[in-house]
């Protein structure tokens, strides 16, 4: 998580930390500690113009999705949004913002020298059961340098 400065929206904080602490999830404690230490920034994302908001509604986005999109569209210092959500990925790309899947984010950290290949491979293997077939394997093969 420390491979790049991270920013989350207030909604994501509520979903991960507030709901996570209430449900007894250990990762919620870790994320909260990182937020309190300033290693993860939490930002409010103001509404976009009325036509833009209407488009987000037409995509069927929920409030949390809209907040992520608003932040990506408005924050000039956000380089890319990490998501494994296909629709959100497409919406962000169509808004002209960079989006990447978690395996791509891990690969970029290796490419930038911020993460060792072996650690990246372990991380990818750990998230493999959660991702659709092909996503993790694609990154693993690239890290191996065979494709």
């Amino acid at each position: 998580m420390d491979v790049a400065p991270l920013v989350v929206t207030r909604e994501v904080q509520r979903e991960t930390v507030d709901a996570g602490l209430a449900g007894g999830y250990p990762d919620a404690v870790e994320i909260q500690a990182r937020i309190q230490a300033g290693r993860i920034a939490v930002r409010e994302a103001p509404q976009l113009s009325a036509p833009f908001e209407e488009v987000l509604d037409l995509y069927g986005l929920q409030e949390g999705d809209k907040a992520v999109t608003r932040l990506a569209v408005q924050a000039s210092d956000v380089g890319a949004t990490v998501t494994d959500d296909r629709l959100l990925y497409v919406v962000l790309q169509r808004c002209g913002r960079q989006a990447c899947f978690l395996p791509d984010f891990i690969e970029r950290a290796v490419a930038g020298g911020r993460l060792e290949t072996a650690t990246a491979q372990r991380l990818l293997l750990a998230v493999r059961p959660r991702l659709a077939s092909g996503f993790v394997e694609h990154s693993l093969r690239r890290l191996e340098g065979v494709i």
Partner: protein, 83 residues
């Protein structure tokens, strides 16, 4: 957590429940619970398919099922479905 629900079912469903009950020596409640579970599972898989195809966001699937994002992650993990 389980909740008790009292409901009226259609005659066709009652006939099916009676038939399965007799065949499997199960209680009416067990057969009905299985039916509801299978229906719920079908709805979940349908929404999950749509999510995988990029038609719905993960949060929309959670909303449709009346779950939080955390609860949906847990449910999909339990079912061995990718997120």
């Amino acid at each position: 957590m389980a909740v008790t629900v009292h409901t009226v079912v259609d005659d066709r469903i009652a006939k099916y429940v009676n038939r399965v009950k007799a065949h499997q020596y199960a209680t009416e409640a067990t057969v009905l619970r299985e039916l509801v579970e299978r229906g719920y599972d079908q709805i979940l898989r349908h929404l999950h398919d749509r999510y995988q195809r990029g038609e719905l966001t993960f949060r929309t699937v959670a909303e449709e099922l009346g779950l939080s994002v955390r609860e949906l992650y847990d449910l999909l993990e339990q079912k061995g479905l990718p997120t």
